[in-house]
Symmetry: C2
Subunit: 347 residues, 2 copies
């Protein structure tokens, strides 16, 4: 393998009979350098096949143009959309992403944060693992003034921005919609209450019940990791209940759990939405495939990713003061489909 010699600013400088300083400035389009000189530098750089050495540059300027991303899991449609939005936004601004997943483990999250810190990312984007109880592992970032933006599963902190949707309101609306459709015993398949997203959804659910004067029944709350199997388990539980105790609606905090619960109940002969109405959360592709189509909350993942990154970068370039935007709330909409409409089901 023939290794070509690497071209440096010194090579360019030598070729043009100017100093490396001028070349460095010229490559950055520094206005202090004569326009003609800049052009000559750019041309020569291209001609020689120069590529800038990020390490040398980062070493001196202490900027890496890299953002760290800490997420619980990569393999969900929602998270993939977020990543996609982040990548696009970052790319547009000349930043790169280093992505790592915690697998919902607090320890792995801490280890990954540590790696990011050592890699000296310019900023950090975080969605917390369900296990995580505090953000001590992010302390080094705050201490060094490295901006941290939380998204989706956030942890309010005075020095950082959160990008979220209004989970409380969304859950409130879902629940209200179910109640208005005639449901009274609404079961909630919730997630880990350490996480704002699940805690807020529970609150929204509770408030909607309260406003409609429906008593809150703790037995109708089922907390899990909201994986496929959890949906199935919930279904099993329901099938074991006496007919009178059974819920007449299920509101799951994600579509995966909702769909798998629904399928399992359907297979057992339960009419959906006739006997049990359903609503999910996220608007995953599966929600519009399952039959009946699942009522859910559209969660703008791509946009969330874009906004989180844009916000972070504007911090970095100082266009933006942390104090100005501590939280960005994105719009989310209730997507009403057949699974929640008892009345229309009687066709």
């Amino acid at each position: 393998m023939k290794q070509e010699k690497e071209i440096t600013i010194y090579d360019i400088a030598r070729k043009l009979n100017i100093s490396a300083t001028t070349v460095s400035r010229g490559l950055q389009d520094n206005p202090a350098i004569n326009k003609l000189t800049r052009k000559k530098i750019a041309d020569t750089a291209k001609a020689l096949g120069y590529r800038s050495n990020n390490f040398a540059s980062s070493l001196r300027s202490k900027k890496t143009n890299t953002l760290g991303v800490l997420v619980p899991r990569l393999n969900s449609y929602f998270m993939a959309s977020v990543m996609s939005g982040m990548e696009d936004a970052a790319n547009k601004e000349g930043y790169n992403l280093i992505i790592s997943q915690s697998q919902e483990k607090a320890a792995k999250e801490a280890a990954n944060a540590h790696t990011m810190f050592n890699k000296r990312v310019d900023g950090l984007l975080v969605s917390l693992a369900s296990e995580t109880e505090n953000i001590d592992h992010l302390a080094p970032f705050f201490r060094k003034g490295i901006p941290v933006v939380f998204f989706d599963r956030v942890f309010p902190h005075k020095d950082s921005t959160c990008v979220v949707i209004d989970n409380y309101k969304a859950a409130y609306e879902v629940t209200k919609h179910l109640i208005d459709g005639g449901c009274r015993r609404i079961m909630l398949l919730g997630g880990n209450m350490l996480r704002n997203v699940y805690a807020d959804r529970l609150r929204g659910y509770q408030q909607a019940l309260k406003d409609r004067k429906i008593p809150f029944n703790e037995k109708l709350i089922y907390i899990s990791n909201l994986a496929e199997q959890d949906g199935v388990n919930a279904a099993e539980l329901i099938l074991k209940m006496k007919a009178k105790e059974r819920p007449d609606a299920i509101f799951a905090a994600n579509d995966t759990a909702a769909v798998h619960c629904m399928i399992h109940l359907k297979a057992a002969g339960i009419q959906i939405p006739g006997e049990i109405a359903f609503a999910g959360f996220n608007n995953d592709p599966i929600s519009s495939i399952v039959e009946p189509n699942l009522t859910t909350v559209n969660y703008p993942g791509y946009t969330m990713g874009e906004i989180a990154v844009t916000n972070l970068i504007s911090h970095l370039s100082g266009q933006n003061n942390v104090k100005n935007t501590s939280t960005v709330v994105l719009r989310s909409d209730l997507v009403i489909r057949a699974s929640s409409q008892k009345s229309k089901a009687a066709k």
Copy 2:
């Protein structure tokens, strides 16, 4: 914001009254350094809160411990699984990933490759955009001897490994399965034939027909991007056909197209699999949600990601000669579900 002073090896050296050289070597566990000294260095480093400066080190050693990943799109279940596997494997070996997506555009792919090159990734993982016609944009990597591993959508090249499944065989089996189930007019929803995955699937399909003495009918080939809308379009096309011309089975090169085509036909009153049997590819979550459940090919994304990274890293550490493994073929299995079984459908 109080900025803590950054600790360097010089600080450690001063504290211990030894040279920075020794500290550097000690931190790398260089056996030339006395064990006791090494221990003292490690302890002091921890005590002072030292973190190594990757740039300084990369600048000199010319290694970044970073791998570049070039993919067409991030927001699919399959790709998310691959990323997940890659990230896990990379993380385990102390590598980080820089991920970027081409949006299926050759130009963006080239631009991203260029960025990766400038970021001096130690190695590159590539799945090609559907548009890409050649790999000239990867030439700089080959010239500099930076290892490139292709996965899924590959482009055979003498200096690089490909990680794939046997698309030919998988498609052959799907087609054979449909034929054995009694189908004779099997429509293929294919992807861009520039890509091995789609070209191989077409070949497998053709060979299966040939082996079963069924004439190949060009009118039953529908090439598209295999997005949702393409599935719908295919369905429209079929609905416009005269009854005699209609296919009695559809084999789509991905589940998205299969599922959306199927739903659209179902809505139009076509019996699945009675009138038209269905098979897809990838084993996306939607394939086991749609009714009837979709027969498909299980595609081990997570494993593919893991293997691609592991292979790349072993190249880097020189444990592995390119010549030894030019292609890794992963096992894929036909997952038979209701959508393809005409006989059992008559319940």
